[in-house]
């Protein structure tokens, strides 16, 4: 019953924004005053706000039903797990007193060993589906997944394409996070977009041929319609119970992103950026499609989890079709090395002819890489990272919602969701992709001067961290960072929006400075975000969300490095980048809010934003600071990891000279070391930023001149745009031109040639007809005529002469007969 209620709640949260979209996009028809009314915006806020309430209710209900929370004296599994996580730490760190871990029960009889062994037991099924709670045994952690089918798209024999739901702890946390942040951003946007509430909006960034600005009606309601559509698509993506459905909503968030980036359609830069975003995403989706094709061909289903009806599995999902042995590796055929496809009970399924169903190992790698290619596109990872900075052409609330907190994180979400199917080679690719990306983007962020661009590169870099986390087997760390990042990055984007709004659409930081006094709320909330992302903390006293999640990633990377020493870069580069992150974030803050104003005009007109914009900032800053309180034994972490994949616990043993994936205990052991190093890096970065931009000790311009080569390379974004232009865009247009030419020059030429030949033949035919055929006919005619004329002579009319001819003729006939037919 709980499953059905959860499904209904989440589907309400999911579909309400769609309803909102339909209402808002036709707002011009129902409203008397569509250009001046905020009703559309409040509709959108109402929909997403109600969605948030539904999600929160669902989260609480799920927790209660799955026995997560304490019930009177009885401990829920969250408390138990908190104890376990706590006990894993080698010595009780000071930070255990910081924050408020749910419970401290030293004497709990669940210790790590016990729990671990039950988790990684050979018969443990990964996606154990919750049995109904009434009367049944109490649910434990890892047993709280609800999945089923919403709607069938098509059935072909045994193949079935459906829309499903898959509700586990990750789904619920994502739902709550997305709806909460979206609500805040919707509210903020009411203020930010208010200059669209006019019949004549002047777009100062769109110039006509004669140099004048574009004047157009305001598009306030259209903006909120698109936002609602986006929320619908994003929530659908999270609720999706199969990978095909993820793909559907993947494309839909993509098109919403396209519409929102290109919101100012008059600006060439905006429509270019929108196209670039969509097409680069489609490149990733091409890989995604390949993954889907392989999955479909070999598994015949896209479902994640098993669908249960009355405790019977009616539809088996992917996660239970590959079975992991105790060492964490997939069961494989001993002879061929192919991965065996198993039923829910772990027994190998067979084909019609009795042979084992199996999938070649390399194809499982293809699946993983393919799905990950989709994630690369969506999360703007190397080498498809170039679209995200350009996407900043969209209005700032869009950047906050779509291009930092939710959609771009969908790639990480999918990598996390699909984690049980990833093999070591895929994870290593994910780790290196994340590692390259986080470094590359951070270096560019150091030199960017547009406030939104800095944040955009920072987003790419942080997404790289998440990918790295997932890749080095820090599943929980990566997704933990996804949630914390969503809060502090959306906060910072909204702050930058507030600055841009306050400075009348000035985005260049060199024209700002000293805004702290002018806009104190924005400045302080921004500072909270900056501290959070930089991972600054006073261990044991206070730490903001980013400290916990980034530490977790760096610790996973260190454990991974310890297990696989060849991949040491996977630890050192993120560590170094932690310093760079602190540097560029504080650079941004000092540049904008600190020191003396650099452009008096901008400064004079700057003002703090109205409450409808600052209130969301305050709400988000509270979450950015404290959402991760308690680290790995705080509420957020425990909720998030409630249904974590089972093979994380014990890690995965290397096959041959393959990769060893660290167990949770290995990661926890490195926590203090990694945390200390990361903190050192962050503090150094902060100090350098302060010295360069917070004080006047160093002449930054002079430094720039001396490092002109590096600086130029970085400001040109490592020349990726030029490279892709030369490698792909121009060749594509060449091939296109060739195809178009080929049609005209070859096919049509053949055709025209054939036509001409036909005409020539016909002409010759005419000549032949007129001269030869007609000539022959005429010849016969004239011959007949002349014969007739000559015979005229014999036609005398004298009877005796005729008899004479007859007799002669008969005699001649007989003569011929006797000579030709003798006898």
């Amino acid at each position: 019953m709980v499953g059905e209620t959860l499904q209904k709640l989440l589907m309400t949260a999911w579909l309400l924004p769609l309803l909102g979209f339909v209402v808002e996009i036709f707002f011009g028809f129902w409203s008397k005053n569509p250009r001046h009314s905020k009703a559309a915006a409040w509709t959108a806020v109402g929909c997403i706000g109600a969605g948030f309430l539904c999600s929160l209710t669902a989260l609480v209900m799920w927790g209660t039903a799955s026995n997560a929370f304490d019930d009177g004296d009885a401990e829920g599994w969250m408390s138990q797990q908190a104890d376990i996580n706590h006990a894993r730490h080698p010595h009780h760190e000071a930070d255990s007193s910081e924050g408020a871990p749910p419970h401290e029960h030293e004497g709990a009889d669940h210790d790590a060993e016990h729990h671990g062994s039950s988790e990684a037991g050979a018969d443990h099924i990964l996606t154990a589906v919750a049995t109904e709670d009434d009367g049944g045994p109490k649910l434990e952690r890892g047993q709280t997944v609800y999945s089923g089918t919403i709607y069938t798209l098509g059935v072909f024999g045994s193949l079935e394409l459906t829309l499903d739901y898959y509700i586990d702890s990750l789904t619920l946390v994502m739902f709550t996070m997305v709806t909460l942040i979206a609500t805040c951003i919707h509210l903020f946007a009411i203020g930010y977009m208010s200059d669209e509430l006019t019949d004549e909006y002047v777009d100062h960034f769109a110039h006509k041929a004669d140099g004048s600005h574009v004047h157009r009606p305001g598009r306030f309601y259209r903006f909120f319609a698109f936002l609602s559509l986006f929320c619908f698509a994003m929530l659908g993506l999270v609720l999706a119970g199969n990978i095909f459905q993820v793909f559907i909503f993947w494309e839909l968030v993509g098109i919403c992103s396209f519409l929102l980036i290109g919101f100012y359609t008059e600006r060439k830069t905006a429509s270019d950026a929108a196209n670039k975003a969509f097409i680069m995403n489609r490149i990733g989706d091409f890989g995604f499609l390949i993954g889907l094709m392989v999955l479909w061909t070999y598994f015949g289903t896209f479902r994640f989890g098993d669908t249960m009806v009355d405790n019977e599995v009616v539809d088996q999902g992917l996660f239970s079709m590959v079975h992991r042995a105790e060492d964490g590796n997939f069961d494989r055929d001993e002879l061929t090395g192919d991965v065996l496809i198993t039923g829910t009970d772990g027994h190998v399924l067979t084909n019609e002819d009795g042979s084992n169903r199996q999938i070649p190992y390399y194809l499982l790698v293809v699946v993983g890489l393919g799905i990950f290619a989709g994630c690369v596109g969506k999360s703007a990872q190397f080498p498809l990272q170039t679209w995200l900075p350009d996407a900043m052409e969209g209005p700032t609330p869009v950047s906050a919602l779509v291009h930092s907190a939710t959609m771009v994180a969908a790639g990480v979400y999918l990598a996390g969701r699909f984690f049980p199917m990833f093999v070591q080679e895929v994870l290593l690719t994910i780790a290196y992709t994340g590692c390259i990306t986080l470094f590359l983007a951070a270096t560019i962020a150091m030199v960017a001067t547009d406030i939104k661009k800095v944040l955009a590169y920072s987003t790419i870099s942080q997404l790289g961290y998440m990918m790295l986390g997932i890749g080095v087997f820090g599943w929980a760390a990566g997704l933990f960072h996804l949630i914390t990042h969503a809060f502090f990055k959306s906060l910072m984007f909204l702050c930058s929006g507030s600055v841009i709004h306050g400075c009348h659409h000035e985005q260049e930081m060199p024209k700002m400075g000293g805004l702290l006094k002018k806009m104190p709320i924005t400045a302080i909330t921004m500072l909270i975000g900056v501290i959070a992302i930089s991972g600054l903390a006073i261990p044991g006293v206070i730490a903001f969300s980013g400290y916990h999640s980034k530490d977790a990633i760096v610790a996973s990377a260190l454990a991974f490095k310890n297990a696989n020493s060849a991949h040491f870069l996977l630890f050192f580069i993120p560590l170094l980048t932690a310093g760079i992150t602190a540097f560029y974030m504080f650079r941004l803050w000092f540049y904008t809010f600190w020191g003396a104003p650099r452009d008096q005009h901008v400064h004079d007109h700057a003002h703090e934003s109205p409450w409808i914009m600052t209130a969301p900032l305050l709400i988000l800053s509270v979450f950015a600071a404290f959402c991760a309180v308690g680290g790995d034994h705080g509420y957020l972490y425990l909720l998030l990891t409630g249904d974590e994949p089972a093979h994380l616990e014990a890690g995965v043993t290397a096959v041959g000279d393959g990769i060893t994936l660290p167990a949770i205990q290995d990661i926890v052991d490195e926590h203090t070391t990694a945390g200390t190093w990361a903190l050192v890096a962050a503090v150094s970065g902060t100090l350098i930023a302060y010295i360069l931009y917070g004080t006047n000790f160093v002449n930054v311009e002079e430094m720039k001149r001396q490092l002109a080569g590096v600086h130029g390379f970085l400001t040109n974004k490592w020349h990726f745009d030029e490279l892709y232009d030369a490698l792909f865009m121009r060749p594509a247009h060449k091939v296109a031109a060739f195809c178009a030419w080929f049609d005209g020059a070859v096919f049509d030429r053949i055709l025209h040639g054939a036509a001409k030949a036909t005409v020539v033949v016909s002409k010759w035919d005419r000549v032949f007809d007129e001269n030869v055929v007609d000539g022959f006919v005429n010849l016969i005619a004239s011959a007949t005529q002349s014969v007739g004329t000559s015979l005229k002579v014999v036609q005398t009319g004298r009877l005796r002469q005729y008899v004479m001819f007859i007799v002669l003729g008969v005699v001649a006939l007989f003569a011929v007969m006797f000579t030709t037919f003798p006898g």
């Binding site: 098509g154 024999g157 574009v214 909503f249 359609t265 008059e266 429509s271 392989v294 195809c739």
Partner: protein, 532 residues
Amino acid sequence: MNPDVLLSAIIFLPALGALLLAFLDSRAVVQIRAIALGFTVATFVLTLMLWGQFKYAEAGMQMLVVKEWIPTWNVYYRLGVDGISLPLVILTSFVTMLAAVASWSINKQHKGYFILFLLLETGMLGVFLSLDFFLFFVFWEVMLLPMYFLIGVWGGPRREYAAIKFFLYTLIGGVLMLIAMLMFYFNSGGTTDSFNLIELAKAASGTSTTLTTTLSPNLQITAFVLLFIGFAIKLPAFPFHTWLPDAHVEAPTPISMILAGVLLKLGGYGIIRVAFPLCPYGAYYAAYALVGIGVFSIIYGAFAALAQTDFKRLVAYSSVSHMGYVLIGLGVWKIGEATGKTINPDMWLMGINGAMFQMIAHGVSSAGMFFMVGVIYDRVHHRDLNKFGGLMGRMPLYSGLAAGLFFAGLGLPGLCGFIGEIFVVLSAWNYSPTLAIIAASGVILTAGYILWAMQRVYMGTEYKGPHSEDITPINGRELTVAGVLLAFAIILGVFPGILFDMMQSSTGALVDSMQLGYEKAAATLNELQAMR
């Protein structure tokens, strides 16, 4: 309604309308339009009645009509409908009806135009409903003449060239079909069922009670190639596609809608109704070529579309690209060398269903795209992609609808284009991973040419071409056509089950009988081998 009457009424009602128009004064434009529209609406209603009487569970032909026509040559007037033809019949009457509304923009010789228009509809419906090979062929040719005149008289500047090109291409296809038809007639003994498409199909799979002999496996290959070329011209598939851009560019908007919306589907329908069931062995033999041509058409069409500067030509090439999916879906039939059994027949079934869906979906989206091009062409009288821009501000409603229809063409989930493409692509890996990957790469190119075209036309600061003063917001008539098409694109995209439910019995039966046919042919070949 009695099926005998209903099927014939569907086919001949438009012709009746044409006859009626012939008696009208050619200056009575309003009446001519109203009557023509009335007849197309009535035909559409009749096809909906047909849908109402259609039994989903039945796999075979329904509502059969058999009447003697030319008994000396064993030609019969045979009609019937099944899950494969029904969606196409409804699509035809639907698109024709909308095209009739779009025909308001025709501004000369209205009477002649609408007479030919209605005759064209009779021809198209006749092809979809006839079950006699000869009758099929007759309707196929009947369709040709009105189309020739509609392009050649009411078309653009190069209309004569385009019309003749269209005519000759299709005629060649018709001739090849004629040869194949005679092959079947004489090889099956020239009996009363020798033109009967159902019995010929049964004969191929060895289940016919009336026809004992049919083509040998090797002749099947010849017949299939002949038929396939005939139908591939219509589809159109690379390399038989060059008539299409010219015909589209020159044809008036409503005719382009019909051309893309219905006529191209005749090619796909011909393959699935005639070429496949009649020559199952030939179909399997040529399957790789089919899929290969399909894949190549997708990529080639998309690249060619990317290079176009004429808006309508771009949409025309997008048709070449999109119809490639139809060939792939039909062709992904894989047989195990050792067992002689189909590997994963459900995948092929999915491919066929996807191909059928793609035909319907393309009928809706491409008709919509051509109409949207027509709307702007009617205002500014040019189609140069580099001389548009800023229409989003000038005609917001029009631009919004156009964006929706172009997204449907782009294969966006939730719209009709997605389902057909993705189902076909998913079914393709089982057949050939390489071809499947190439086909899947089409998604990038498709996004490229459609978004780039939209950017050049709808976005930007201002309109850059001539006749700027004539740009007026979309009117009620245009809004109706575009709105209805977009609504259908959404309905089909969200509820694809509407079509799949209609088709699944028939497509399932097709897959089964094709497999039987292949096994029969393979057995024959083995016997021959043994005799040698």
